[in-house]
């Protein structure tokens, strides 16, 4: 009797943890509608922007969950999104083949991820070193290519007509949904996902439970690479061109988005795929709200500060909840 009560209570708490980020998303959505209409802007235009930005962030973040569940991180994912999109444009322009472009984008994205993970896990270079190095190198090379090829235009692109048929809501939603379902499946219903989460919870114990730490780190990065590839592709579908600043801040935004989605940055068993999707859209909403409210009025950059404060607050609250359960017995 007492046991079922406890179980129920746990379930309730679990449910609440799940629902809180969704509630936040809805509230942010409401606030955006209010802010936009009070300023007399066009709501449909804003929703379009937010959807397109949100889809890209959500897709890349969904793949990144695999890395974050290990308790690791990768801020170079934005740079590799830019880099793979850039190479994709080059390939299209020299072959005129859409399938080849898509293949290239995925190949390059997964390749970058593999490189990061091999550097980190096989050569034991600390993650924050590899990720910052990868970020600088990839964005520098991409910028170099873009300015060389793009010249005065400041960007390179593919003809809009090529991707025009794909630039619509159902297609993008479908892409996001398929990828999310795939990731949820791998994450929760395969040995791979279960082992990744366990590895994030306690690497020492995971190793002593027969989990090959390096192998799983590489798998995680490959999954993240797939997300990057999709993100790069969707970016091209939305704006068929790339500039040196395309996708620039995605790397950091993922971190914020995942936390907004209610997942602890320490990874482990409380990692959830939906955190990426819910958090991704929440973050983009918040960002746009702040842009309208603050930047249009006062100094630029304040929105960054506000969202950073928001971020720290969320981290504090989630980790507080976490700490109280840790008693050495």
């Amino acid at each position: 009797m007492a046991q079922t009560k406890l179980t129920k209570k746990n379930r309730l708490r679990e449910l609440l943890v799940t629902l809180l980020p969704i509630a936040a998303l809805l509230i942010l959505f409401g606030v955006l509608c209010m802010v936009v209409s009070s300023r007399g802007y066009r709501l449909d235009m804003y929703l379009r922007i937010i959807f397109n930005e949100g889809v890209v962030l959500a897709v890349v973040a969904t793949g990144a969950i695999f890395i974050y569940s290990l308790g690791s991180f990768d801020i170079s994912l934005g740079a590799s999104t830019l880099f793979s999109a850039t190479i994709g444009v080059l390939v299209y322009n020299s072959t005129q083949s859409l399938p080849l472009m898509i293949l290239t984008i995925f190949g390059v994205a997964v390749g970058c991820s593999l490189l990061s993970s091999v550097l980190a896990s096989v050569f034991h270079i600390p993650v924050f070193v590899t990720t910052v190095a990868m970020m600088s190198v990839l964005s520098a090379v991409a910028a170099q290519i873009i300015t060389t090829k793009g010249g005065a235009l400041g960007g390179i692109g593919i003809p809009a007509a090529v991707v025009e048929p794909l630039d619509n809501l159902p297609f993008k939603l479908a892409v996001l949904a398929v990828f999310a379902v795939l990731c949820v499946f791998v994450f929760n219903f395969t040995k791979i996902g279960r082992r990744l989460k366990f590895l994030g919870s306690n690497p020492v114990c995971a190793k002593l439970s027969g989990i090959k730490v390096n192998v799983y780190a590489i798998i995680a990065f490959v999954m993240a690479g797939l997300g990057v590839g999709l993100g790069a592709f969707l970016t091209l579908v939305y704006t068929p061109s790339v500039t040196p600043t395309t996708a620039g801040s995605i790397g950091m935004n993922i971190l914020v988005a995942i936390v907004f989605g209610g997942m602890p940055i320490s990874g482990g068993s409380r990692s959830r795929i939906y955190a990426a999707i819910v958090g991704g859209f929440s973050y983009i909403l918040l960002n746009n709200i702040l842009k309208i409210v603050i930047d249009s009025g006062a100094g630029y950059g304040i929105s960054q500060i506000v969202s950073a404060v928001f971020f720290l607050a969320v981290v504090y609250v989630t980790s507080m909840n976490y700490r109280t359960k840790l008693l050495p017995r």
């Binding site: 007492a2 046991q3 009560k5 406890l6 179980t7 209570k9 746990n10 219903f189 395969t190 040995k191 279960r194 082992r195 989460k197 366990f198 919870s201 306690n202 020492v204 114990c205 995971a206 190793k207 002593l208 439970s209 027969g210 989990i211 090959k212 482990g268 068993s269 409380r270 976490y322 359960k325 840790l326 008693l327 050495p328 017995r329």
Partner: protein, 498 residues
């Protein structure tokens, strides 16, 4: 005379789990009071409330005549109640000295910079004061084994000269010389008119060390025993609430085993820990490995499981495969219950379900890839049931379990997957006598099923009680092998250990 500490009507619940119903406890000057009870009976909870680690829901405490409401463990220690916790109470990223002075680094600050030399010196002094001579303040804690870390923790607490020392299930982590250090401290406390609250599952030890005993059961104080009333059977009966007679080891005294060798260790060498060790482990045999903490037996356990690499020599299974990593070991049916439970055997902030399921996925995966709750849940539940883990449900976090129940989860993790060869490093650490009995029976049953069991332990009685063959190690060398027999005497065995 007034008690040093009085705890009145303490109640503590976790959701609907009642850890302590209404428990009163007093500790008198010069008293060493033992707390005994089954796993989950509330021993750690009541003592950690006294030591400021957590707060009671209701009830009051009086310490040296004044109301006692410590804000934290550090606060409690500053004011006179120190506790050595059941699991690791140290932090591994920093040095020994930093661990000892964690809360008061300020006192070593000179112009804003910490004077490490002075701090290390003070740490050395604290360690020497309790008789630990081979550990230095500047050593990184990560370099030390479990026992030595415990000693560092003891030095840290004793240095503050508390009026009451709480020792929660610590001795099972220590080998004989570590225990002697602790016993000396306890004697000193008694002589100086201070007090000790001592928790142990080892009945013999607790009767030896303590002046009075308080038995807890299901969060209630059952009864007290004064020294002259100590009687093992009576204490056990009041712990469990029913009678549990005499012996719980194997009944037979004839060594037996199957001919087939399950695992073969050949010429293993590893630094100072192992110097040319060769052993054949047979199916259907329980091999006990004993010695002092540093004799190399713990390293041997790790190497047998492929978790550490020997400098020379090899570990081979029956089919000739060399075991060089954990994955290979598990593929060949080897299971390993590590000594450092909270770090090596369990992911604490993860559910019981995940912890048990992680090692057994081959057992219920569909097509070597797919894992669904449909088959996983019954698998996990079966382990919880067969080891009677006391928990609210399978999704409860392991960190919320009492020490002994954590160990049952570890056993479930390895036995559930059908391990053919079990390496058990201190398997009954922190486990109450009821579970111990169950575990010994389980080992006996596994032996009869033809499994190979390697039991590494610091407790001679259980080695003598369970092993078909007892191997004694010292300084990385096998000193002596004893066959199971009624005539074995601990005096004879100890001679080879020291």
């Amino acid at each position: 005379m007034e008690p040093i500490l009085e705890m009145k009507h303490i109640r503590k619940t976790f959701s609907s789990t009642v850890a302590l119903g209404d428990v009163s406890l007093e500790v008198w000057p010069g008293e060493v009071r033992g707390l005994i009870g089954e796993n989950g009976s509330g021993k750690s909870t009541i003592s950690s409330i006294a030591a400021g680690m957590q707060k009671a829901d209701s009830g009051e405490m009086v310490f040296q005549g004044k109301p006692w409401n410590p804000k934290s463990m550090i606060d409690a220690l500053q004011h006179g109640v120190g506790m050595i916790v059941q699991e690791s109470g140290t932090i591994s990223g920093v040095t020994v000295a930093e661990n000892i002075f964690l809360a008061e680094l300020g006192q070593f600050k000179k112009l804003g910079i910490i004077d490490r030399r002075a701090m290390n010196k003070k740490a050395d002094e604290a360690l020497r004061a309790i008789g630990v001579n081979d550990v230095h303040g500047s050593t990184p804690l990560a370099a030390l084994d479990f026992q030595t870390r415990k000693l560092v923790e003891i030095a840290k607490v004793v240095m503050k000269q508390p009026r009451i020392l709480v020792v929660d299930e610590t001795t099972t982590a220590l080998s004989q010389n570590g225990r002697d250090i602790l016993y000396d401290i306890i004697k000193r406390f008694r002589k100086e008119g201070k007090a000790v609250l001592f928790i142990s599952h080892d009945l013999e030890e607790i009767m030896e060390v303590c002046d009075t005993l308080t038995v807890l059961r299901d969060g209630a104080r059952i009864r007290d025993f004064r020294k002259e009333e100590f009687d093992p059977d009576a204490i056990r009966t009041s712990m469990i609430g029913r009678e549990l007679q005499g012996d719980y080891y194997r009944g037979d005294f004839t060594p037996s085993r199957l001919d087939e060798v399950a695992l073969r260790a050949e010429h293993l060498r590893s630094g100072d820990a192992l110097k040319d060790v060769s052993i054949d482990f047979h199916r259907g045999e329980i091999v006990g490995i004993g010695g002092l903490s540093h004799c190399g037996m713990h390293t041997l356990g790790k190497i047998l499981f492929g978790a550490e690499h020997p400098e020379a020599g090899s570990v081979t299974t029956a089919d000739g495969t060399k075991i060089t990593n954990e994955t290979a070991a598990m593929k060949h049916g080897i299971g390993y219950v590590a000594k450092d439970r909270d770090v090596e055997s369990l992911a604490l902030n993860t559910s019981i379900r995940d912890n048990i399921a992680i090692a057994g996925m081959e057992r219920y995966a569909i097509g070597n890839f797919l894992v669904t709750g449909l088959k996983e849940r019954p698998y996990v539940d079966a382990q919880i049931k067969s080891l009677s883990v006391k928990c609210s449900d399978r999704d409860q976090l392991v960190s919320q379990l009492s020490g002994g129940n954590k160990q049952r989860v570890v056993f479930g993790k390895w036995i559930g997957r059908g391990s053919e060869i079990l390496i058990l490093d201190c398997p009954t650490r922190g486990v109450d006598i009821g579970v111990k009995k169950a575990m010994y029976e389980l080992m006996d049953q596994l032996k009869r099923e033809g499994k190979a069991i390697i039991m590494i332990s610091e407790e001679l009685p259980e080695l003598m009680g369970m092993a078909d063959r007892l191997i004694i190690m010292k300084d990385g060398v096998i000193m002596k092998e004893f066959a199971r027999s009624r005539e074995l005497s601990d005096a004879e065995i100890i001679k080879y250990m020291i």
